[in-house]
């Protein structure tokens, strides 16, 4: 039984912690991850030769990052295969590209710790060079110490908004403004829950204080109008809470509306899904220990429920202990209960964060007709609405077939949430009634050459 092949996809906090727990129990998990080094997005490491200190890279999370990196690197029972894209699941086999070469990895038990990506709403000018997501702006800084511009506007509704803005300010970039689409009263209403939730809420206040100390304006209740400029970004236009239009000069913009789970592999594995009203998105169904609806497939971290690094690490431990339990280890009960307590203890905070940075669905529903909605296929919101009027699709998959929105290289990971809102608005229904875009392999583009070469080698 202990010879079960256990494969973890994702080497962020959830996958790393799960691997450590399994290795600690004497198993040899395989960890597949796209990045050149472990850490995931939150604990992403610098390229070789870069020497910035942990506290510069990870701020308040430096201690946790250092501990996890050190433990993971030291454990030779873990078979960590970096540079590995898992692009399909068929039965109990993963199809991967490892350093650009096709490999099949078989498993008996699979833990998906695939993380999350930025959730965006297209706005006029968003495809102009110089517009980034908040997470993308942070990765540029964390990974290679690059800023996306000299004078940057940050906007949206996301815990990343004050965080990334203050990181940019600390790194020496000029932060032109921080513009929050959430009305001030909603933010204040969420404040008691944020501050009662332990350190996390207070950290947010620290970021705001740091911005204030540098006299960086932080505005609430704004509505984005456009990224201005000809060839690249030269400014940002928005309306304030009272409806007055403002323009700010800048050479880069970072925006985002929280995170969305990366669940494409869970979808290909056949896992069940549900619409989570709090996170306001489709999420993979998991039981109290991280088991999916497919036997042998487990879930942990932001790929399952958006909760951040600390929760992801606990969920990784929990899923690993569920795997051990399912392998016949009867001694995991107390540890599983402890994980459940720690996760449950953060429930109020999570709800408060969801209230403090709500997804502004009305913005998505009001995307102007001439604005590009699907950038992969270059389809405007107006063209999408016209295809809905003409052929009356009932869900986003049908709307995709009629309009090409979501058919391109990202398969709707970028434009999907906004497209669902537009369809729901046209049909006069709640967004969950518009359904969920089905994933198709490959979950990320794969080069034809890799397979043509492999076929030649085999011949």
């Amino acid at each position: 039984m202990r010879s079960d092949r256990i494969v973890i996809v994702g080497a962020g906090p959830a996958g790393m912690r799960a691997a450590l727990v399994l290795a600690g129990a004497g198993l040899n998990p395989v960890v597949l991850d796209e990045a050149p080094a472990s850490g995931g997005q939150i604990y992403r490491r610098q390229p070789r030769g870069f020497t910035r200190a942990y506290d510069k890279l990870y701020g308040f999370e430096a201690g946790r990052a250092r501990a996890l990196h050190a433990a993971f690197d030291a454990d030779n029972r873990i078979d960590h295969r970096s540079g590995t894209l898992v692009w399909n699941i068929e039965g109990r086999r993963l199809q991967t590209l490892h350093d650009g070469r096709p490999e099949t990895v078989e498993f008996d038990r699979l833990l998906l710790a695939t993380g999350a990506m930025d959730r965006v709403i297209p706005f006029p000018g968003w495809t102009r060079p110089g517009v980034y997501t908040l997470g993308g702006a942070q990765v540029a800084l964390k990974h290679q110490a690059c800023a996306i511009g000299r004078r940057v506007v940050f906007f949206g509704a996301s815990p990343l908004l004050p965080l990334v803005a203050s990181q940019y300010a600390a790194a020496g970039a000029e932060v032109a403004a921080v513009l929050d689409t959430t009305p001030l009263r909603a933010k204040l209403a969420a404040m008691p829950g944020l501050l009662a939730g332990g350190k996390t809420g207070w950290k947010g206040l620290v970021y705001l204080a740091r911005l204030a100390a540098r006299r960086i304006p932080y505005r609430h209740g704004i509505t984005p109008v456009a990224a201005l400029g000809s060839e690249s970004v030269e400014g940002f236009a928005y309306t304030d809470a009272s409806g007055r239009r403002h323009e700010i000069e800048c050479d880069a913009i970072a925006f985002g509306y929280g995170l969305k789970s990366e669940w494409q592999l869970a979808d290909l594995a056949g896992c069940g899904f549900e619409f989570d009203a709090g996170n306001y998105q489709w999420q993979v169904v998991a039981d109290e220990a991280g088991r999916s609806t497919v036997p042998g497939v487990y879930l942990a971290g932001d790929g399952t429920r958006i909760g951040g690094a600390e929760l992801a690490e606990i969920a990784g431990e929990r899923a690993a202990r569920a795997i051990l339990t399912d392998l016949g280890d009867t001694g995991q009960g107390a540890a599983l209960a402890a994980c459940a307590r720690r996760i449950g203890g953060q429930a109020r905070l999570r709800r408060a964060i969801e209230r403090a940075f709500p997804f502004p669905a009305p913005l998505a529903r009001a995307i102007p007709d001439d604005c590009i909605l699907c950038r992969c296929e270059a389809v405007t919101a107006g063209e999408f609405r016209a295809s809905i009027d003409r052929l009356a699709p009932h869900d986003v998959n049908r709307a995709k077939a009629f309009s090409r929105v979501g058919m391109g290289r990202c398969q709707g990971r970028i434009c999907g949430p906004a497209a669902a809102e537009i369809l729901a608005a046209a049909r006069g229904v709640e967004v969950k009634e518009a359904g969920r875009l089905r994933s198709q392999p490959p979950v990320k583009p794969v080069p034809v050459a890799a397979f043509a070469d492999a076929a030649e080698d085999a011949a």
Binding site: E90, H394, A401, M407, P445, V448, A449, F451, A455, E456
Partner: protein, 395 residues
């Protein structure tokens, strides 16, 4: 209970043929309803490669295919959309002398049907199609062929049919049907009861199941062609590409993506899900770079499939039932029904009105499979909806 419908014609299956039949019958004033278990054009009609070709067909299909080709030019007046049809031509490649001989055979035979096919070899092949790989030794070109967007064609016919007065019921499978003195009686999954003078079975991969309700046994195999699409590239493939042997095919749409296919994928017929298959996906990539070497450094961004019914001789069943007056079949298009669909709709309407068609249908007779017809109600999904209806049960 969703109520009772009294119809002249009931249609089972919302592919292009069914939607086109609904359009023509409704236009001529019949009370017609179409029942589709999912959404119109969601399987073979909607997720296929998008080839609109007469080139390389079984000669038995050519009269029907010739008729279809004329309709493709008239799609805008028929359904208010051109279905993104472009007469780009279809180029069929030979990678060996034997394959070239088979292309020559087809070109000679096609001439009898008035279909012009040019044979191209040697220097002209390289001059006219400089983007072909070195293994290609020759080709045949059918200039009148082309390509279209399958995702919008069946829905376009459905929309036109609705405007002409047909009722189209999606997400409503027909659970059983029988014929008595009064005509056909159907019951749907929503409990709707339908009576109709004529019943049209255009249920694709499910067509054999419907035929079995009337004691006609057709060996249909549900298969799922493996389809792929690349990221957009500069537009340079102005013609739809196939190969002798059929193991790979490709076309490029003006926005730049190369759509290609080859091999069979995977399906779960019961759950109605399908996917392009792993081994076949990578093999088709190798074959693509063989004929079009410039696709080598391209990324595949998506794969997909659908469920289609294949007959043993890979030509469809089209025509009246041998057991049941008023029942008409058209299914089992075996992976090449997209081009034919609009003509099949016309033929079905002719059969309803006159009992015959101007297009020769003899090769498609169901009788070629039904030497030993099974008894009514013996086939199907285990339960016996016909017996249940005869006993007046409600679900």
């Amino acid at each position: 209970m969703t109520g009772h419908l009294d119809l002249d014609a009931a249609i089972i299956g919302g592919g292009t043929a069914g939607c086109a039949a609904a359009l023509h019958l409704a236009t001529r004033g019949l009370r017609v309803a179409l029942f589709e278990r999912r959404t119109v054009g969601s399987q073979a009609s909607g997720v296929n490669f998008g080839g609109v070709r007469e080139h390389g067909r079984d000669f038995a299909e050519l009269p029907l295919s010739r008729r279809a080709r004329r309709i493709w030019d008239r799609l805008p007046e028929l359904i208010g959309s051109d279905g993104e049809f472009m007469a780009t031509g279809h180029l069929k490649l030979a990678r060996s002398d034997e394959q070239m001989a088979s292309l020559e055979d087809f070109a000679r035979g096609a001439a009898d049907y008035g279909l012009a096919v040019e044979l191209i070899t040697g220097n002209r092949l390289r001059a006219d199609f400089p983007w072909l790989g070195p293994r290609v030794v020759g080709a045949s070109l059918c200039r009148s062929d082309g390509q279209a967007n399958p995702r919008i064609v069946a829905p376009g016919f459905a929309r036109a049919a609705r405007q002409a007065g047909a009722q189209i019921f999606e997400h409503e499978a027909v659970e059983g049907a029988l014929r008595d003195e009064g005509g056909f009686r159907l019951e749907t999954e929503r409990g709707r009861r339908v009576s109709a003078r004529t019943l049209i079975n255009v249920a694709g991969a499910w067509g054999a199941k419907v035929a079995a309700w009337f004691g006609e046994s057709v060996p249909i195999e549900p298969q799922s062609p493996s389809m792929q699409v690349t990221e957009p590239l500069p537009y340079r493939l102005p013609v739809n590409i196939g190969v002798a042997g059929g193991d790979v095919y490709a076309r490029q749409i003006p926005r730049g993506n190369v759509i290609f296919g080859g091999g069979r994928g995977w399906n779960d017929f019961g759950a109605i899900t399908s996917r392009a298959g792993g081994g076949n996906v990578t093999q088709a990539m190798g074959r693509l770079t063989d004929i079009l070497p410039w696709t080598r450094h391209v990324h595949v961004i998506r794969t997909w499939s659908g469920i289609e019914g294949y007959t043993p001789d890979e030509i469809p069943v089209i025509g009246p039932s041998d057991t049941t007056p008023g029942l008409i079949h058209a299914f089992g298009f075996s992976g090449h029904g997209f081009q034919l669909g609009p003509a099949v709709g016309e033929v079905l309407a002719e059969l309803v009105f006159s009992g015959g068609s101007e297009t020769p249908l003899a090769p498609f007779a169901i009788g070629r499979f039904t030497g030993a017809a099974a008894p009514v109600g013996a086939q199907g999904d285990g339960r016996d909806p016909i017996a249940a209806m005869q006993q007046g049960e409600t679900r």
